[in-house]
Amino acid sequence: MPEDTTGEGSGEDVAPKGLTDSVWEARQRARLGAPAASSDAPAGPPPAAPAAAAPLTEAGAATRADPTAPMDRPRERTAPIAPVTPPEHPPPRRRPLPLGRIVLGGLLLLGGLLWLLGVLDVLDVSLRAVLSLSLVAVGVGLFVGARTGGHGGLMLLGVLLTALLTFLSSFDIQLEGGVGNRTERPLTAQGLPESYRLGVGQLTVDLTELELPAGETRIQAIVGIGRLVVRIPPDMAVRVRGNAGGGQVEVFGSDGNGFDVDRTARRNNPGSASARVVVVAEVGLGQVVIGVRE
């Protein structure tokens, strides 16, 4: 069996035969790339390193001759570093205020406030008045922001408000009074409100059980969009007027339709000459029906 002169595979830290301890230790360090030789390393010229051990750099040439020396990483030459001046940033420009958002936020705030005050009966403001004020505010916003330009959103909002107001005003649509179907049956003249109102839906005003005092009693009913029905007892002396901004008006069987339709009628009752009812029924867009109910 040949002798293992390299010591590999022996697994022991003992120099093989024929090698002194110092030579064995030097070979082990060179193989493992261990750090510098210990103090008991032999002095004098080290064993010749293989030619292809490592490319030598200027700094490392002196040390690489020693195989027991640590493997120095080549140092790179660096040019002198010039002081770096930070790039000059242009002075920060103030962004123009988003005028559209400001006006929209203000309008929402104002609209909500007016709505809340209306619900609390603190202030009586109609929807058309709020929309009109909003249109004026949009116009003022465009004036104020004319220097910065680019207010397509405000322009669009103004056009939409104008279209909505034109629609509401053309048909005289009043949207106060809520939405749905409602029937009113007044019993006494003292309990009559100034006017019955409904925004959208059907409103029925039934006068068949109304106790009339002497003289003239006025009853007004207004529906924004929908149907308005007024029922009158056959023995009641009445003067009625039905009006629709757009739609149909039917009064005691006589009807008309189209835009701004207006119908009036009068009926006397000799038995109750001193008591008379004046009925005014208006619909913005829809139908008015005034008829006799037995």
């Binding site: 109609s126 058309r128 008045a129 929309l131 009109s132 004020l133 909003s134 249109l135 004026v136 505010a137 949009v138 116009g139 003022v140 916003g141 465009l142 004036f143 922001g145 004319a146 220097r147 910065t148 330009g149 680019g150 207010h151 405000l154 322009m155 103004g158 408000l161 104008t162 107001l165 034109t166 005003s169 053309s170 048909f171 005289d172 901004g245 835009f259 701004d260």
Partner: protein
């Protein structure tokens, strides 16, 4: 007052909206009694005037 540097289209639109809003408000408050049949033609007249005036004061403005 110079109009240089101002967006004339915004000025014109603002003027139209203020006038229309004031008309609608006065009509709602009962100060003006515009008949329903007049409102749409009036709005069309105002908008048409606005378009014409806008074209005249900014003839060279490129379209967006």
């Amino acid at each position: 007052m110079s109009l240089a540097g101002l967006d004339r289209r915004a000025l014109l639109g603002g003027a139209v909206f203020v006038v229309l809003g004031a008309l609608f408000l006065l009509e709602d408050l009962g100060v003006l009694n515009l008949r329903a049949a007049f409102i749409l033609p009036i709005v069309l007249i105002v908008l048409g005037l606005a378009v014409l005036v806008g074209t005249i004061i900014e003839p060279g403005r490129p379209r967006d």
